[in-house]
């Protein structure tokens, strides 16, 4: 009966449903657009946005300050690993440069870096980094050119004969902690440093926001007020960029949420108005129903079911529109219409539920009013 009632004023019902569908689109669009925007920004920044670098003071020529710089000790390394949590890390230890005697011809890199998990941080150009990184040497393209070395060539490190297993790209940034600068990379445990246990750590967070959080915590723990050293650990991430994105993201979300809420409130008023008009027009019918044995709750249920049907229709249409709009947004921001983010389903679900709930809420008053009417008065029309 509720369904037939809605069908009798098709145009009016369709318009009311459309209004709610637009509201659902606004709320759903908030999520889908936000996710696509976030993904777009992440893609724009690339992997670097997910990385956090920690470098012990005094490692670069730009280090300033008096006294002995604090070293990146085993204790601090554990502290860093704890904060990094499940994120992949590459720990780097720099060994003293081998002194080259005057007239001596350099046939292999004079600098050595001990590293863990090089796969996470270095891009292999040739060869392969073994899964079990316990032996072998990695050289960068610069070393390969200078010393005319290639995969399989023997190289002596600390008196031990090793074999070149991979050639990697020189990491970007002349002062980055993982810089190779024509150094040879060997497993961390194979080398000892006399000056500083570790040069630094590269942390690969799962996304830019997690990277930002890790960086903040590291700064607080390593360089916080309890730190007695004037020289500080350098913790670098693209946090400023991330914060800027986050701010843009929050502003966009707030704006869309505002639009969505206003839109849904208007839609709710529209549904409420429609239901009131409909109940008013059907006053005599409601009177007849009451006369032939329908109770107040039956009348309430009929009108509420109408609201639920409208809500479901609107929510389905709204979600359909949201998916369509999402494809457009994905195409614009990510160049792939179907590149929906995993959380899209949650936003669609929330928008769907919102559409139905707003219709039910809007239908409550008209339903209650119609159900409370005395049958004898309703029958007078």
């Amino acid at each position: 009966m509720a369904q037939r009632n809605l069908q009798r004023a098709k145009g009016r019902t369709a318009l009311a449903v459309l209004t709610v569908a637009v509201g659902v689109l606004a709320v759903g669009g908030l999520g889908v657009f936000g996710l696509a925007f976030e993904e777009n920004q992440t893609q724009n920044l690339g992997d670097i946005a997910n990385q956090v670098r920690v470098e012990a003071p005094g490692q670069s020529s730009f280090a300033i300050g008096d006294g002995d710089p604090p070293e990146l000790s085993e204790k601090r390394l554990n502290q860093i690993k704890r904060i990094a949590g499940n994120a992949e890390t590459t720990v780097i230890r720099q060994v003293d440069r081998k002194r080259v005697q005057p007239g001596e011809k350099m046939t292999s890199p004079t600098r050595v870096l001990g590293v863990t998990n090089p796969k996470a941080t270095y891009n292999v150009v040739r060869g392969e980094i073994p899964e079990n990184w316990e032996s072998g040497v990695i050289i960068d393209t610069q070393s390969a050119t200078i010393f005319e070395l290639d995969i399989g060539d023997p190289i002596t490190i600390d008196g031990r004969l090793q074999e070149v297993t991979a050639v990697v790209e020189q990491p970007g940034g002349r002062f980055s902690v993982e810089r190779t600068s024509a150094a040879a990379l060997v497993p961390l445990d194979l080398v000892r440093s006399t000056t500083n246990p570790y040069r630094g750590v590269v942390i690969h967070a799962k996304n830019s926001f997690a990277a930002g959080e890790i960086a903040t915590e590291l700064k607080s723990e390593l360089n916080g007020p309890l730190s007695e050293n004037e020289q500080t650990f350098e913790v670098s991430s693209r946090q400023d960029d991330i914060e800027s994105i986050d701010q843009q993201f929050t502003s966009t979300n707030t704006f869309l949420l505002g639009v969505g809420t206003i839109s849904l409130i208007i839609a709710g008023i529209s549904i409420g108005n429609l239901q009131l008009m409909s109940a008013r027009e059907r006053r005599e019918e409601i009177g007849v129903l009451r006369a032939v044995g329908y109770g107040r709750t039956d009348i309430l249920a009929i009108i509420l079911i109408e609201a639920v049907i409208m809500g479901l229709l609107a929510a389905i249409c709204g979600v359909g529109l949201t998916v369509g709009a999402g494809m457009l947004i994905n195409n614009l921001l990510l160049a792939a219409p179907l590149a929906f983010q995993p959380d899209t389903v949650i936003y669609l679900g929330v928008a769907f539920a919102f559409g139905v709930v707003i219709c039910v809420l809007a239908g409550l008053y008209p339903a209650w009013r119609a159900s409370r009417e005395r049958p004898v008065e309703a029958l007078r029309g």
Binding site: M1, V288, R290, V292, G293, G295, R374, P375, V376, L379
Partner: protein, 245 residues
């Protein structure tokens, strides 16, 4: 006795003061009786019918249905009693335009647990009123007489003890009205009581007894406005339907 009303008064408060739509009515209606209530517009006919139909309550006086004072019933119980005991026929038919003739007849039992039984009963009743070939027609596809016959079938779907008809022929021409009226009598069983409000004196002649209402009062015995149409027997009430010794 199916229905009794004692000292029934219904007072409405309006902008120009209070109006007594009913003023001390005493009436008794027996099981199986066909009673018409006649009177000019505003005489209180429909108000009396509403009170008998448990749609309204009197301002004063008591109504007993099956020897139970209806004042004892709360809203829910009144609804239940209306559903189980009373069938309504309205002047404007009261059909739901979005439902077919069959569905309209089934409306009072739509929420019941046995839809198949309801459909059987609705089809049977529509057959009795000669609308077997109009089951799937919507009200706007039916003539006035056909609509009223659907309305009669709906009134009987719950096998009521009492059928209340408010101007059932009011929207019909004389011939159609007469046919519908006769059908109403034909399809209701002998044990079903009918109280019909009409201002058509001609149709009142079909009833067992006529109650004349003027200005909210039943005309008393001995006046030319009180006509027990059926054969006046010793059982026939003589004072507005109230038996006097």
């Amino acid at each position: 006795m199916l229905l009794t009303g004692e000292n029934l008064t219904k007072r409405f408060a309006g902008g120009s003061g209070t109006v007594d739509a009913l003023n001390g009515i005493n009436v008794q209606i027996n099981t199986g009786e066909f009673v018409t209530v006649v009177g000019p517009s505003g005489s209180g006919k429909s108000t009396l019918l509403s009170i008998f139909g448990l749609l309204d309550v009197p301002s004063k006086g008591t109504v007993c249905l099956h020897d139970t004072d209806i004042e004892q019933y709360n809203h829910r119980e009144r609804t239940r009693v209306r559903k189980e005991t009373i069938g309504f026929v309205f002047q404007s038919y009261g059909l739901i335009p979005t439902l077919t003739a069959l569905e309209n007849v089934a409306v009072p039992r739509l929420l019941d647990s046995d839809p198949a039984a309801t459909e059987r009963r609705a089809k049977e009743l529509l057959g009795k009123v000669g609308l077997s070939n109009r089951l799937k027609h919507y009200p706007d596809e039916l003539s006035g007489g056909q609509k009223q016959r659907v309305s009669i079938a709906r009134a009987l779907v719950n096998e009521p003890a009492l059928v209340l008809a408010d101007e059932p022929t009011g929207n019909l021409d004389r011939d159609t009205g007469e046919r519908v009226f006769k059908e109403l009598l034909a399809v209701t069983g002998d044990d079903v009581t009918i109280v019909a409000v009409t201002h058509d004196e001609y149709l009142a002649e079909f009833s067992d007894r006529v109650l004349r209402l003027i200005d909210g009062r039943l005309k008393t015995s001995g006046t030319d406005t009180e006509i027990p149409v059926s054969e006046q027997t010793s059982e026939t009430p003589t004072d507005g339907g109230v038996n006097h010794p």
